[in-house]
């Protein structure tokens, strides 16, 4: 049921995509003629007929959707490559960044939340409050540049840009470590915003859960503080945090676009940025489609995770 709905959402994204392409001034024929250095009306008409641009809107829309179903998102005249291929080359880098940041933020966020819920006036709790203020107010690209100045230029611990060092030779483990080293600053930049969000919520829910009856019962039957917190309370305070994390996927991708621009991370965000400068409309719209796909898949994964944590979720529908 969720999957059918996800497919309908994706179709809606396609319709929106196509309508925007249609409404925007200029079309493929203009792009081609520009790259040829200008063309007269006859040639423009010829190109439009070749690409079916003279057909009615709905016919064109139907054909566009049909193409997308065959994984054909059009052709990038700027890169001289099919858009799908272009995006699939860049997608892994973005997925690596987005999922690492999300999972680490969630994991550390919950731990911080639990620690600060147990000691509401402790260091962890103050750290969460300050991080939340900073995470909300500091532009993510600025934080990234500050980290870059601090840890790549002033103290040269981490690489300045990119995802790997092409000059490095060696086996899988060497490359793995190399990518991990490149990943550190982008993940910290992107993850810290969401870390703040998750730790604040998990602190709040944990405090609520710790005050509830069944926790008192668990304490009364003689369980240690540690057992009560990690076995009984944690499980019940997790679902709101996971739900929130699911809702954040689209924000994480938005943040990733900026983080990628700062660290020259070779993902979809950098591609989006470059194709916008190049006015490469098919690529831009393809990226919008794929990122919506990532959000939808992220939401489905969140649902699965919720069912795992809280079996009641599945039985509702």
């Amino acid at each position: 049921m969720r999957i059918v709905y996800a497919i309908i959402l994706l179709m809606a994204v396609l319709v929106l995509n196509f309508s925007m392409m249609h409404l925007a001034p200029g079309d493929v024929a203009d792009t081609i003629s520009q790259s040829m250095g200008g063309a007269d009306q006859e040639i423009l008409d010829q190109i439009r007929a070749d690409y079916g641009l003279d057909q009615p809107f709905l016919v064109q829309l139907g054909r566009y959707m049909g193409n997308v179903l065959r994984f054909d998102l059009g052709y990038s005249f700027f890169y001289n490559t099919p858009v799908t291929q272009l995006i699939l080359q860049r997608l892994p880098a973005t997925l690596l960044l987005v999922f690492t940041a999300q999972i680490l933020a969630l994991f550390i966020g919950v731990i911080l939340g639990v620690i600060s819920a147990r000691k509401p006036n402790g260091i962890a709790s103050h750290f969460v409050t300050i991080l939340a203020l900073f995470g909300y107010s500091a532009p993510v690209f600025w934080t990234g540049i500050l980290l870059l100045i601090g840890f790549s230029l002033k103290i040269q611990i981490f690489p300045v840009a990119g995802m790997q060092d092409v000059t490095i030779e060696g086996g899988f483990s060497v490359h793995f470590l190399d990518v991990a080293r490149h990943l550190v600053l982008p993940v910290i930049t992107l993850g810290s915003i969401f870390l703040a969000l998750y730790s604040r919520l998990s602190r709040a829910t944990m405090m609520e859960v710790l005050g509830s009856d069944y926790v008192r019962t668990a304490k009364a039957k003689g369980l240690s503080e540690r057992e009560v917190v990690y076995k009984h309370a944690l499980k019940n305070s997790l679902s709101p945090v996971i739900t929130l994390a699911g809702l954040q996927f689209s924000a994480v991708i938005s943040g990733a676009v900026l983080v990628e621009a700062v660290f020259s991370w070779p993902g979809l965000g950098t591609l989006a940025f470059q194709s916008i400068i190049a006015r490469d409309t098919p690529t831009i719209l393809g990226i919008l489609f794929f990122s919506a796909l990532v959000v939808i898949v992220g939401n489905l994964l969140t649902d699965l995770a919720l069912r795992f944590v809280d079996p009641r979720v599945g039985s509702k529908g």
């Binding site: 409404l23 532009p139 230029l153 689209s250 924000a251 938005s254 676009v257 621009a261 831009i284 990122s291």
Partner: protein, 292 residues
Amino acid sequence: MPPIIPTEEIAKARHPMAEAWEMFRGNHAAMVALVVLTLIMIIAAIGPYIYPTDPFDMVWAPFSPPGVDGFILGTDYLGRDLMAAIIHGARVSIVIGLAAAFMSVFIGVTVGALAGFYRGWVEELLMRITEFFQVLPTLLFSMVIVALFGASLPMITFAIGIVSWTAVARITRSEFLRIRELEYVTASRASGATNAKLMFRIILPNALPPIIVQAALMVGSAILFEAGLSFLGLTDPNVVSWGQVIGSNRQYILDASYTVTIPGIAIFVTVLAISLVGDGLNDALNPKLRQR
């Protein structure tokens, strides 16, 4: 016969806004933030007249550090006065922040109110549309809009507003769902109030507190949003903005990191002030939630 309510009680019951202000005034962080925010607004409004240096003019040698040669904040890679950029750029941030937040609150309240009031298929349809907008990565979507339809300030405002209203819609809807079941609404309905009157005169005013808090936060996130877009170069090239200054100077961070840190501080302080004021409003308008 003595009055039913003792007179001193009547004297105590003041206007709710006065009470909220009392509460807000007790919050020191929020008060300081309000002062800072007012200063920033004044700078945005009259700063360019007091400091008329054109932020696009090359006035001095490039990379002159802050405080040297009479330039308080130094000059950038083209020898443009950074102080002028900060002062003139405040206007874009504040105006776009306010306008985009206004637009998203307007859309969000309309969608949420209709959904929460009429329920049924209207609610189903509107909430599906809301979910649709939540699936699109906001920044990418506005990048696409600005890239396809031009980087004018109204278009940028539109691009930010159209992707930011979903949270307001959800909050408005849940408030409407809660309030529409209350007795005074039923009473007004029974006494023949029209749907429009019920929605906007009776339910909406009571749903406002959380919407106002959210609206304040929206201004902050719209400012961040605009900064992100202009950092990427998606901005009106004829108008200076803080994000754009960071974006155009970031290749030179090795030579002159202040050209990036200073505009960032301007954004940070503005948004921080807004979010602290928002927190203060939250405590003042929703006193019941204070314990959380």
